[in-house]
């Protein structure tokens, strides 16, 4: 049996809500944020999976659990067959090298006092890799070439403020690549960048993927996910409500939440103006998860049964799974 590179299995991430002084004194019951509530997906080498959803849906918590930046409350995260949720700090270190992260804001993630050379070499120093200074330098240059900052000599001695937004994000990606990871977690990698340079950074990630890197992309932007990811998992309140090949999810969405999300994404063509399916209200907070289907209070096609049943991902006519008890009826 082949084993996927990353296998997230029924992942649960809960955060306790601080009660505050008054809450503690009055023994207010402890509340919990159910950030991730049973998420399952897998990722193969050379594949890009996009976790898509609005703020508070649990996509970033899922990514942070994979990075072991937050502790999973339940479930398993198997990376190359080993469960990351249970390995100790010492055993984690070599694994960490193989999983790297790119953050949303290259203005924040790069140290303004570090030159590009230092920023990209730092992970090598931290992990005690790269051998001599000369060898390290060669690895840094190679990483810069992979992110198309060429020739590297033009960039090595620059400070972040001397670079454009797109170039900064490329430096951040180079610093992730220098450790030769097999899995890259990219949390909203282009949302802080100007429209004209986004496509370049996304194409770069696309190229790295084609070279065999596995990429877990976190994004709220369905157009980007649809264009660049192989698979899309749509999240709502800590759960994946629909998952499948990117083009299929976008062309034949099954879950009413996916349908609504897709309908409100602004299109470029002014002639394609249509009244989107604008849902009322906002995502409820993850402390008080609605009973039954967690989407039912905002769902345009909810029936009384949706208040009782908590639907799991199941087969749909489109071929990819979604979590809705009304799918067969609405498809008929």
């Amino acid at each position: 049996m082949t084993q996927p590179l990353l296998e997230v299995d029924e992942l649960v991430v809960h955060y306790p809500v601080p009660r505050g002084l008054v809450g503690t004194v009055t023994r207010k019951p402890r509340a919990t944020v159910h950030a991730v509530d049973g998420v399952t997906f897998r990722l193969e080498p050379g594949q890009m999976v996009a976790l898509v959803g609005e703020s508070g849906c649990g996509k970033t918590s899922t990514a942070q659990a994979v990075m072991r930046l937050v502790t999973a409350s339940g479930g398993a995260i198997r990376f190359e067959g080993r469960d990351l949720t249970s390995v100790g700090a010492r055993a984690l270190r070599p694994l960490r090298r193989r999983i790297q992260m790119v953050y949303q804001d290259p203005y924040e993630s790069l140290d303004p006092r570090q030159r590009v050379r230092q920023a990209v070499a730092e992970p090598l120093v931290i992990h005690g890799l790269g051998g001599s200074r000369g060898q390290r330098d060669a690895l840094v240059r190679e990483a810069l070439e992979r992110v198309e900052l060429t020739p590297p000599d033009l960039f090595l001695d620059r400070f972040p403020h001397e670079l454009s937004g797109g170039q900064r994000q490329r430096v951040a990606i180079a610093a992730a690549l220098v450790l030769q990871p097999v899995l890259l977690v990219a949390d909203e990698p282009v949302s802080m960048l100007d429209v004209s340079v986004r496509a370049g950074v996304l194409s770069l990630l696309d190229g790295l993927k084609r070279d065999g890197l596995a990429i877990l992309m976190i994004t709220h932007d369905l157009s980007t996910a649809a264009r660049f990811a192989d698979r899309i998992a749509v999240m709502y309140l800590g759960r994946i409500v629909e998952e499948g090949p990117a083009a299929e999810v976008v062309r034949t969405p099954q879950h009413p939440y996916t349908k609504a999300l897709l309908s409100v994404v602004p299109r470029r063509d002014p002639r394609e103006r249509h009244a989107g399916l604008v849902l009322r209200g906002e995502t409820p907070d993850a402390v008080r998860i609605p009973e039954g289907c967690r989407f039912h209070p905002r769902c345009p096609i909810a029936v009384p049964a949706c208040r009782a049943a908590d639907p799991q991902l199941g087969p749909t006519p489109a071929g990819h799974p979604a979590a809705c008890i009304r799918i067969e009826e609405s498809a008929a």
Partner: protein, 322 residues
Amino acid sequence: MTPLLQVEDLHVWFDLAGGGELHAVQGVGFTLEPGERLGLVGESGCGKTTTALAMMGLLPSSASAAGRILLDGKDVLAGGEATMRPHRWVDVAIVFQGAMNALNPVRTVGAQIEEALELHGVARGAAARTRVGELLESVGIPAQRAGRFPHELSGGMRQRAAIAMALSCEPKVLIADEPTTALDVMVQAQILELLDALCRDFGLALVLVTHDLPVVAQLCDKGVVMYAGRVAERAPVDDLYHRPRHPYTRLLFAATPDLDDLEQPVASIPGAPPRLDRPLAGCPFRPRCDRAFDRCETETPALTAWPDGSEAACHLDAAVPA
């Protein structure tokens, strides 16, 4: 007929700390009619927010402005603060990207709107409180939430409250500077729907400042595409997409992925916008343009009208469509 608002040959310079000047806005112009929705679109640093602040007379003290901003035919820029002040919030109001920054965190939303009403002599006392309720309802916030503090509201609700406050003097023009950028797509859709309704139902004219072309395509009647402090193209949104006259407009659309067109390759525009702290020679977009020719090196193109009404600052003519 005089338009409601007319911006003519607007220039803004910023004094730089280390000496020198940054010419942030270099001759921007457009007109706006009652109920019309105009999108001011471009990348960071193109001068769109500076233009919006100049229209409000809210530029920082390090900036100086020249040109004309005509409101009902009367120049409000020429007299500085003295001519600007009577119109600010009364005729032209603005909402900013982060509603949290526009609202006072230690006062309730209702109290802040009430203060705006009293300050401008619109209403006071019980009448003001009734009006606060009406204003909140008009943006989709239940009137009883007037007693909430900004942090007790969600991001979308805060942005609605900021819009309600901007509407307190019943302005003719609302400037919305990236009003949905920090919001989720569903909340963005709700806010855009609200802005659309305000224009339709109350004849409010909208200047939507954004980097997001699809949002302009969906909400606005016409668009002003800015590049390097100048107007690159000015046209009805349908023409911007279907018949772009400036290569920048075309390339910007091509850089934007679209759900209806997944097969189409998405390409970024190489290079970066020019620095505005030194004089520009030739076309400012030339180094990034895929259609530049020798004339673009030396001659800065002026905004020129096409027979169909769109205008572009580009040397390419009808014989060589962009």
